[in-house]
């Protein structure tokens, strides 16, 4: 059980800087998710913490000790690979026992530990098999067993579910969360799937091109994204971003865009007066999630023309075109909109976000 801190961590491969001065802290027992698109550096950070790569600069601290120049094993961090990395010529038992054998544990003790780990992951009946005789899900569990058998201080998981099919993925996700609850080991989990991140993480660290975008609880990243990237990355369908200009004074501001005029609620949106006045007459982006929009009769507020109607059975996504912009509206399953129809839009402005031209949220936290 340990705290993991990464200080101004930078990693370059030749001219390519993959991790740009990232600082993160994973508290003791926390499940921290590193989320981002491919190439954002999340796996690299994980590997740096594990000791599989050497940092270009910055410090890595595990349990209070700087481990930059400590070998992977001595860092007491276990790693679960995306493709499991099981030793193909060893039985499941030997695979799980390997870290203990390396530490020269006595045979009897080793046996107990392996059996225990196998029990937790329901592998007890597979101990004599070879990896090639196992299914993907079973191999995943062997990899996990090998990781927990050492009773490490930190778990590092690199997209462990990506190689599983959808159903198995969901099931294993729950198993992992259960495991975390039971063992309480600090875990850093890398994924590109924001659903996984949302459901599993205590906090999510979102990365893009090697830079940290936001570190917050899943709900916070969803409701109060720090910038347009996070806003679009979290949630499916993604948040609608519409260009608007704002004008007004005091506490009364309006946003005008292709679809019409909307009143803004600065208090609910958490935007300070001083900040918004700086950006008057600039082109900003208004972010509203599909579930915070609803169709209405054409009236004073926003309006547009229906372009697409997608029914998923449990709900309907209606794409409305306003000028050059398309917004997606989440409606009930029986919403009766039809393509080409002119409709009005209601906005739950309290839930909306305003972003600067450079993407940053105007909200002050």
């Amino acid at each position: 059980m340990a705290e993991v801190i990464v200080r101004q961590l930078t990693k370059s491969f030749g001219d390519n800087t993959v991790v740009k001065s990232v600082s993160l802290k994973a508290d003791d027992g926390e499940f921290l998710v590193l989320l981002g698109p491919s190439g954002c550096g999340k796996s690299t950070i994980l590997r740096l913490v594990a000791g599989l790569e050497e940092p270009t600069s910055g410090e890595i601290v595990i349990d209070g000790k700087i481990v930059n120049f400590v070998s992977p094993m001595k860092r007491n961090a276990a790693f679960v690979f995306q493709n499991y990395a099981l030793y193909p010529h060893m039985t499941v038992f030997k695979n799980i026992a390997f870290p203990l054998a390396t530490a020269r544990m006595a045979k009897a003790e080793m046996n107990v530990a392996v059996q225990e780990a196998a029990r937790i992951l329901e592998l007890s009946h597979l101990l004599d098999r070879l990896p090639s005789q196992l299914s993907g899900g079973q191999r995943q569990r062997v990899a996990l067993a090998r990781a927990i058998v050492r009773k490490p201080a930190v778990f590092l998981m690199d997209e462990p579910l990506s190689n599983l099919d959808a159903q198995l993925r969901q099931q294993t996700r729950l198993e992992l969360m259960d495991l975390h609850q039971r063992l309480g080991i600090t875990t850093i989990y890398v994924t590109h799937d924001q659903v996984e991140a949302m459901t599993m993480g205590d906090r999510i660290a979102i990365l893009r091109d090697g830079e940290l975008q936001q570190v917050a609880s899943p709900l916070e990243t969803y409701e109060q994204p720090a910038n347009t990237f996070v806003a679009r990355f979290m949630g499916a369908p993604p948040m609608n971003l519409v260009p608007v200009t704002v004008e007004g004074s005091g506490l009364s501001w309006k946003a005008s865009g292709a679809g019409g005029l909307i009143d803004l609620d600065l208090n609910a949106m958490g935007i300070a007066q001083s900040i918004i006045s700086v950006h008057a007459s600039e082109t900003l982006k208004l972010g509203v999630r599909p579930e915070h929009l609803s169709l209405a009769a054409v009236g004073r507020g926003l309006s547009g023309k229906v372009r697409f109607v997608e029914r998923t059975g449990s709900e309907t996504f209606v794409t409305v075109q306003m000028g050059d912009e398309n917004v997606v509206v989440r409606c009930s399953a029986h919403e009766s909109a039809s393509v080409g129809e002119q409709v009005g839009l209601n906005v739950r402005i309290a839930q909306a976000q305003l972003f600067r031209a450079d993407g940053r949220n105007l909200r002050t936290n």
Binding site: G51, L52, P72, A85, H89, F98, P99, T102, A103
Partner: protein, 300 residues
């Protein structure tokens, strides 16, 4: 009925009918040719059986005959008692096996280092080693000979002309082996290696517990390759040995060719005796031999 035609407008169905008979004719010819070459390949060795069992004098008789009247064992007797054949055979065995073992050890170790370890100048060193991949023995014959002779003095005769170490060591250097091993090790998924490091294994443990077991086929192939090369090696042992007792089979048999008179029956017997064990081994391990020879050049 629609007739399907190919791009030249020929009736495909008719074509198919015709080509069936054409095909079987073609394949008969093919098999004939293959059989012919099989006979050519194996024939000479079978041919040598006869002179081995005949008295040398009778070999030159006229009219020439092939089948011996009776099986004459005198050649073999001579070979085993009057010449150092047995000694040569033992020497060759020791020589070839030692070179193979040593080469395997150093090549796998070096191959692993080049494949998976980081160190300064790795690329340069590997490039240098590659450049010497196919250095002909003849090109460095003189200096190697001089070197071994020098070492004779420096190592108090342990490594020198007419010694085993002197004979063996220069032949253990096989850049090809290192190259092969490196290529093979590089095909192993790096994840294995990383998982092992996380599990606390040091380089040596990773090498022995993880890499070596997975390297077995490559080791067998390389081993056979090296063994076969040294088994047939003539030039170096010819130069590195001066006494009859230290010779290897290739050199020894060539000495059976006297300056003026050659006892051909004995030579045939010697050739036969040398070929039989290796043929038997070959027949048992065919698959590995075939792989070994192609691997020698086709390694990419």
């Amino acid at each position: 009925m629609t007739v399907i035609s190919d791009q030249d407008g020929r009736d495909l169905a008719a074509l198919k009918r015709q080509s069936v008979s054409l095909r079987s004719l073609k394949s008969s010819v093919s098999y004939l040719v293959l059989t012919l070459f099989t006979i050519i390949s194996v024939g000479p060795a079978i041919y040598i059986v006869s002179p081995a069992f005949r008295e040398s004098k009778s070999l030159f008789s006229y009219p020439p005959q092939w089948l011996p009247n009776e099986l004459y064992l005198g050649n073999f007797e001579f070979l085993l008692t009057e010449t150092n054949y047995v000694r040569w055979a033992i020497n060759t065995l020791i020589f070839a096996t030692s070179v193979t073992l040593i080469a395997l050890v150093i090549d796998t170790l070096a191959g692993y280092a080049f494949a998976r370890m980081q160190f300064p100048l790795k690329r340069t060193l590997f490039g240098l080693v590659l450049a010497t991949l196919m250095v002909p023995t003849a090109a460095v014959l003189a200096p190697t000979y001089l070197l071994v002779r020098l070492l004779d003095d420096w190592t108090f005769g342990i490594v020198g002309i007419d010694t085993f170490p002197g004979l063996i060591l220069p032949m253990t250097v096989s850049p090809l082996g290192v190259f092969m091993m490196r290529q093979f090790i590089e095909t192993l998924p790096p994840g294995l290696y990383e998982a092992a490091r996380i599990d606390g294994a040091g380089e040596w443990r990773i090498f022995t517990r993880i890499v070596l077991p997975l390297l077995k086929p490559a080791i067998v192939v390389l081993g056979i390759f090296v063994f076969m090369m040294q088994w047939a090696n003539l030039l170096w042992p010819l130069v590195a040995t001066t006494r009859d007792e230290t010779r290897v089979l290739t050199v020894g048999i060539s000495t059976l060719q006297g300056q003026f008179v050659t006892n051909w029956g004995v030579i045939a017997a010697a050739t036969l005796m040398t070929l039989i064990p290796i043929t038997i081994v070959f027949l048992f391990f065919q698959k590995w031999f075939v792989q070994a020879s192609v691997a020698g050049a086709l390694k990419q």
